[in-house]
Symmetry: C2
DNA sequence: GTCTATATATTGATAGAC
DNA sequence: GTCTATCAATATATAGAC
């Protein structure tokens, strides 16, 4: 157990990175083992199947997303929190243009693979939608309206990343995030009357 | 040459459907040949590589998208055209929730595969962005503003489909398209002042 | 716990008879 | 033009020595 966790962690970290950069289907367990500097056979000691590995990656990502949300809650107002949420995407635009969104990319791929992976990959979106919806409720929107706003905001982020990734244009992503931030400020300023 | 075109067409049609339903990487040429009721070896008579095949699929899709745009231009006003554009997604929500967007799904996958496929898959988005931008220009927006609006609209559509696909929720997509339509009507009604 | 060797299946692609 | 047979590479996964 001394450095056992270390190896397992290296495998998960490599899997997470390669699934993001190359995609789940395209990445082989041999690729992951090589990147983690671990023999291929060893991967199977920690994870019975490739699905088990991606499930662990998703769980880790969900934990990370929750932690990030807690960090965002340090901002004083719901508006500031949502602005910071978008700012994170803005600051990661280069990576997003190069490799897409790690959450969206896996969700897209998993949606087609179906079964258990699809369910798990989608869970990250649910966590995000819940948190963003909370912020809109804190802004005074009723639950149904807040959920709609959350869907629209997350969809705008995901769609912008997809367009930016598809064209390799990080600036497209940055500008889209700035417009979303401006729209949020307008929304609060005008007393929640407009889109 | 009598039924040669027929076979080629069957292969392309099957490839198009399977790439959409299962994804490009996951779909094997054997799957396509079986679906098209053609022996595997015959596929290679018409297409030297899998990349050649997907390139043909994308070209066909681009032609279809252009034809659809021409059809949309029968609507009397730019607003009606964009509303119809969104209505098409609305009406195809069940398929989109089940299999995602054929354009977005391939663009996402191709973005990571890189090279020639990425370029070609992204070309469909460029065609769409160009047409949507035209409509905004017809509504009185300057070129730069119109392009931004087009990016935001296409991104909203793509993100909504991704969220709907990820959760298998067609109603999410339908409602999102309705909100986008309503926002467009508001935009025109209020004299292009708001988001 | 760790690693080598390998089983088994499937892939994209080719050779060559018809 | 069409199709069968097959190659060579690669995938996930397992067996079993250490």
């Amino acid at each position: 157990m001394s450095n056992a966790g270390i190896k397992r962690e290296r495998i998960v970290r490599s899997a997470k990175a390669l699934f993001h950069e190359r995609g789940y289907t395209v990445t082989s367990l041999a690729d992951i083992a090589q990147e983690a500097k671990v023999p291929l056979g060893n991967v199977y000691y920690y994870f019975k199947t490739k699905e088990d590995l991606v499930a662990t990656v998703v769980e880790g990502r969900n934990e990370y997303v929750r932690a990030r949300h807690r960090a965002l809650e340090k901002a004083p107002t719901p508006l500031a929190r949502l602005e910071d949420f978008l700012q994170r995407i803005h600051d990661a635009a280069d990576s997003r243009a190069a490799h897409g969104c790690p959450v969206g990319g896996l969700a897209q791929e998993a949606g087609k693979l179906g079964g258990r992976i699809a369910q798990e990959a989608g869970s990250t979106f649910q966590i995000m939608l819940e948190w963003v919806g909370e912020q809109y409720r804190a802004l005074g929107f009723k639950p149904g309206q807040a959920r709609e706003r959350a869907v629209d905001l997350v969809a705008a982020v995901q769609g912008s990343i997809l367009l930016g990734h598809s064209s390799g244009d990080a600036e497209l992503i940055r500008r889209a995030m700035q417009r979303l931030q401006a729209r949020l400020r307008l929304l609060v300023k005008e007393g929640k009357r407009h889109a």
